[in-house]
Symmetry: C2
Subunit: 400 residues, 2 copies
């Protein structure tokens, strides 16, 4: 049989490491003949935009493992309920003699996997449908964590540490508002706390979407830290909300409070919070949006993440060959220290369309900080430096 693999949703630093794992698993098995890739995810399948990727040398697989973004391209397509679409997709599977389809992605992609799997079951298709987890948001349920999170978290943590040193050089006090991705779950914003060490408290105000943003209490804590001259980095999730349940980034009341600063409306939540601090406290404030860098900075990827992303792809092929379908490989933590994981398949129907928020025990009582439970959980995920291949001073990549 042949296999088909696609990538979907926002890119990460290690989504191609999972692709490398699927390709390596495919090459190793004598049951698998050709390996195909769908260009642009499930939309590419529907357009019959399929390329063969069987012939990957060991050297090229090593480059693929360190190439950020989606080698095969991506899409944001969500499947509807019309039979026609599914018929077309399974028609493509038949055309290429596909025995197993692997879809590397996050929440929306697992919805696609679930729907394809249901359709396959209903129609008695033999094609195994497999999800491979990836998302910097770390918001998939059942699995301990998701590939992509560790590397993004490591980038955030190192930025916090380095920016904290940079901010401390002048005697005048100033703060940085660091705007971090994660619309509905605060995992990546929480990772800012990993940038603290015994020497320097880089940040201890960390605002997640899991807690209501209270401007008054927030300003109190900012003023207190500024007085003490500690923790110049304020980590803000792009998804923080006010008591009215609305995103602060779209909050009219806060914008109006910032008279004359209507521009903040379009500058994102970071600028709104920046204006709050500088207007109300008169502290010099600068906003830094980590933007897409936090999801594509493979130069700072964690070895743990790169290897686990690869393993998720590789094991998926093994699971599919052993007859599993409609599953996603999940990480099951066996111990924190030494850090030990095992990968087990789990029905994707229990994963798709659920979201895992940061739990209460990882958030401090004041709702603006992170506890040691989070540090214990997340630290192993950002650990280790993979061997990196450079050329002319920039990381070497491979493209289609």
């Amino acid at each position: 049989m042949n296999i088909l693999v696609g990538q979907s949703g926002g890119p990460t630093a290690v989504i191609n490491s999972s692709l490398a794992g699927v390709i390596a698993g495919g090459i190793e098995s004598d049951k698998i003949n050709k390996i195909y890739g769908a260009v642009g995810g499930i939309a590419g399948v529907l357009e019959d935009d399929i390329i063969e990727i069987t012939d990957f040398s060991v050297e090229r697989l090593a480059l693929l493992k360190q190439t950020p973004s989606s080698f095969l391209g991506s899409c944001r397509k969500k499947l509807g309920s019309d039979e026609e679409t599914y018929e077309k997709i399974f028609g493509i599977f038949e055309k290429y003699d596909i025995g197993a389809f692997f879809y590397i992605g996050g929440n929306d992609s697992m919805d696609t996997v679930d729907k394809l799997s249901r359709y396959g079951n209903k129609t008695g298709s033999a094609v195994r449908i497999c999800g491979v987890p990836k998302t910097i948001d770390n918001d998939l349920v059942i699995t301990d964590h998701t590939p992509g999170f560790g590397s993004a978290a490591k980038f955030v943590a190192n930025c916090v540490r380095q920016l904290a040193l940079d901010t401390a050089v002048y005697k005048m006090k100033s703060v940085i508002v660091l705007e971090i991705m994660g619309r509905n779950a605060g995992w990546l914003t929480a990772a800012a706390a990993l940038g603290n060490d015994a020497d320097v408290l880089g940040t201890d105000i960390i605002c997640l979407p899991e807690r209501v943003f209270d401007a008054e209490k927030f300003l109190e804590k900012v003023a207190k830290n500024a007085d003490k001259g500690v923790a110049p980095i304020i980590a803000i999730s792009e998804g923080i909300k006010g008591a009215d349940g609305k995103y602060i980034g779209e909050s009219l009341s806060l914008k109006q409070a910032n008279d004359g600063f209507a521009h903040a409306a379009l500058g994102g939540v970071g600028r709104i919070v920046e204006n709050l601090i500088s207007d109300k406290l008169g502290i010099k404030t600068r906003t830094i949006e980590l933007s897409t860098l936090q999801r594509c900075f493979s130069q700072g990827a964690s070895k743990c993440d790169v290897e686990e992303a690869y393993a998720a792809g590789y094991e998926s092929v093994r699971f599919a060959l052993s007859g599993e379908t409609g599953f996603m490989p999940c990480f099951k933590r066996l111990s924190d220290a030494p850090y030990k994981m095992e990968i087990v398949p789990h029905p994707v129907c229990e994963i798709a369309n659920y979201e895992k928020a940061v739990p209460d025990n990882m958030i401090t009582a004041d709702g603006m900080g992170i506890t040691k439970d989070f540090i214990k959980y997340a630290r192993p995920l950002i650990d280790g430096e993979p061997e990196r291949i450079y050329e002319n001073g920039i990381l070497k990549f491979t493209t289609r």
Copy 2:
């Protein structure tokens, strides 16, 4: 005798590597007894905020070499012409039995070195006054380049490369406006071109302060590239100016042209250019400001830069001991391939208060691109990965 060292101006990824070089040079010489550091630059000298830093272990020096930002703190103080200030400074030198003063910094700091040196000459002081170059702006004259530039350039280049891959995943065309530091010289913005390789043209619109920004021609080139689906990254120096000589970031005419986008005024030049593109061409555009990350990202520092910064500090001590004063160690390029440099002292009076712009042969005829001459010049400076010491997934640093 004892020596005193200070740091000044904006931090870089390797300014502490130069400090490590001064300390190592001081420790090695049997003519030098104690090594002192001024906390907060020349302002710290004036406040008698002096600490002893003689006892650095080999291990701590290794950490110092990879610690970004200014270990000793910084200031932005420019010396005036009042005798009293100079008397006070030389009084502090006397108090601590200082035989040589080392000031690590950029253009403004070299002005300080020059002024102190003139005062010393006038008064017959035996204290040797030494400048040690550092600036991500690369705008000091005489020297081939400045420590700090290579690492910042490497960060910019790797960001361009990674962001170009990230932007390419969706079939819809979009561009990123990358706002890069450098108010008066475009060296660091030019470094975006180092992010291109044979596979992927990440950027070919690079706008420097050295050329007038012509919005019409700019939009033409953006539209042409977007049609071809190439070069999604547009590198913009924060210091680009219009034909009226005013910074685009403050240009009223462009702001007015963006009706209803008065917010752009405060979002920096990147947002203004973003609005230009999205308004006039209807192309999806995102601005990324690299902000202070580009000067403090030691996690991505170039080995060449780290070693040269160290050598600049170390050689300064040697030069001072051999009797030189009022100098700055300059890099003299012996060959491009293999890359070879030597370090020679040069009178600081011929360096302070001059600025080196990107020369004509490095800018394309259309004024919006970079030639191979720049690539040849800059590529060796971003080369090599230093050994890095990590702890818990984040780079390990040392602080005062």
